[in-house]
Symmetry: C2
């Protein structure tokens, strides 16, 4: 742990998140992935090239409008930083404003950055995103575990001191995820794969970051909905870890598959977030220059995702 | 491969880099890691907090002065993006200027970003850094392999089309690097570890990206100097891959250990880059407000690193 960060009484991330999810009745995480080529006509400016002067403003307008549609309807939003980085420093300026706006509207914020580095460099990333007053201050961040457990220390210190959340990549949703994550290990249990070993290695930190109110940990994991059987294996190893599940909707998994690693809570299945971005940001009927048609299309996409996920967590199976 | 990127006759990254290294006689990569607390008195402004208004200008002044000291003396510089990200969008603006300045002075540029993501997100990162006209346009980037080989595709497409280089994390220099990278695999060869499997999996792409002029590949790997025996294992699997070796100098490895994975070339041992940042940016005698004393201190640190590394690659061992 980084010694310069002291304990504080900051509200616990997982407690805040799960309380809000219980209120809303669904685990939707709204992914903010502004694919420039798909920004609807209503918001487009100029050629929408990543380097064009008007593009950052178009992205800002679009995402502010999305946040307005979703206000009060989702617990958390997840901006994907790559789509901002491709616009250079002006893109990071837009990200800063979008995150500030989301927090002002009452959303929790999760930055999908998949950072992973060591020592003072990891500390730099933690300072960039997980401290009170960070230039892009978010509630939680995604992390890559390839460099080892010590690479997580600076982030874990901020999770404890400032009530932040971490989601470590364990089993991702892409076709190539098995190249490394599914390699079989030479352990007594011949079924053990790399991703299972990563999950097991995270168990002590997961227990350390458990919240008093809900029993869930601020150390979460990324587990793709495209491999639901693997979710059950990870859940065994990490009973208190929140799952961030990408791969629902546009990426192919069903709502029922997405919540496969969830467990029975006081008001239905709980224990994670299910991300949807393209399905909500870019519904087919939303590619219009007409404001009310765009609003109806996004509202309908939100209704559908919330309905499907609400049903999945209310379902009788556990 | 991303289909929208077409082949071009852009000069090959590894050919450019190795040609320059042969001219200079040493493989020094100058790491640009602006630890804010260590910026010398000569350049400090205000309290040097990451969020302070004057800090980005101080970092810019400092790194421009460093580039001026190193002009014509090193083939490549490696900015670590975390130290810029911690200053928010203003930090990325400084990074943009530092990279432009480095290219104008004739340095090749390698962005230490350790990015790793999938599909359109990985494509966003590739657009941000590896295309002609990218907002922060560099010659090469470091990547994280945890998500699998498909996560490398968008970067490999730019390497081929635009003459860029990739350095994939294989065996890092930190104490925790073994947590995941050294896990033993259940293969016929009981000595095989995760990092060795990663190296083997990269072999086809490494061969695909070999340059005609020098025989070296634009697909490189990160192999820490703190584990020189592992460098030899990786070299067996990847005979054409350039090694990016961190962990020389301040991080503890000797020059001789750092070049352990190099092979005999026309003018000494070659096949990689040895990074030094803190040892050159922050020599003890450089913490001064006096310009000529600072210049002497940095020049002396450069002389020493160049001398040690030049000797190590000229040595008789192979």
């Amino acid at each position: 742990m980084t010694k310069t960060v002291t304990q504080s009484s900051a509200p616990h991330f997982a407690d805040r998140l799960i309380s809000r999810i219980r209120e809303l009745g669904h685990p939707l995480c709204l992914g903010l992935d502004p694919h420039l080529a798909q920004i609807p006509a209503l918001f487009r400016r100029g050629d929408m090239g990543a380097g064009s002067a008007q593009t950052p403003q178009a992205v800002e307008d679009f995402l502010f409008a999305i946040l307005e549609r979703a206000e009060g309807r989702a617990a958390i939003v997840k901006p994907q930083i790559a789509f901002f980085e491709q616009m250079g420093w002006r893109g990071i300026e837009v990200l800063t404003k979008v995150v500030e706006r989301a927090r002002a509207l009452g959303f929790l914020t999760l930055l999908d950055a998949k950072r992973g580095d060591i020592g003072s460099t990891a500390d730099g990333y933690a300072k960039a995103y997980l401290e009170p007053g960070s230039p892009v201050e978010v509630d939680a961040i995604t992390l890559n575990p390839y460099l080892g457990l010590d690479s997580l220390d600076p982030f874990a210190a901020r999770a404890e001191a400032h009530g932040r959340g971490l989601f470590v990549l364990v089993k991702t949703s892409n076709p190539g995820s098995g190249d490394l994550q599914d390699l079989g290990l030479a352990e007594s249990d011949s079924q053990t794969k790399v991703f299972v070993a990563v999950a097991s290695a995270l168990a002590p930190l997961s227990r350390q970051l458990v919240g008093k109110q809900t029993g869930w940990s601020s150390l979460g994991v990324v587990v793709g909905a495209t491999y639901p059987a693997d979710a059950a294996i990870v859940r065994e190893r990490l009973p208190e870890a929140l799952f961030l599940v990408p791969g629902y909707g546009a990426q192919g998994g069903s709502a029922a598959e997405a919540v496969r690693g969830f467990v029975r809570g006081p008001s239905g299945l709980e224990g994670g977030l299910v991300n949807s971005s393209r399905g909500i940001l870019f519904p087919e009927a939303g590619d219009t220059a007409e404001a009310s048609a765009w609003e109806r299309a996004v509202d309908a996409a939100l209704d559908r995702a919330i309905g499907e996920l609400g049903e999945a967590v209310a379902g009788s199976s556990d």
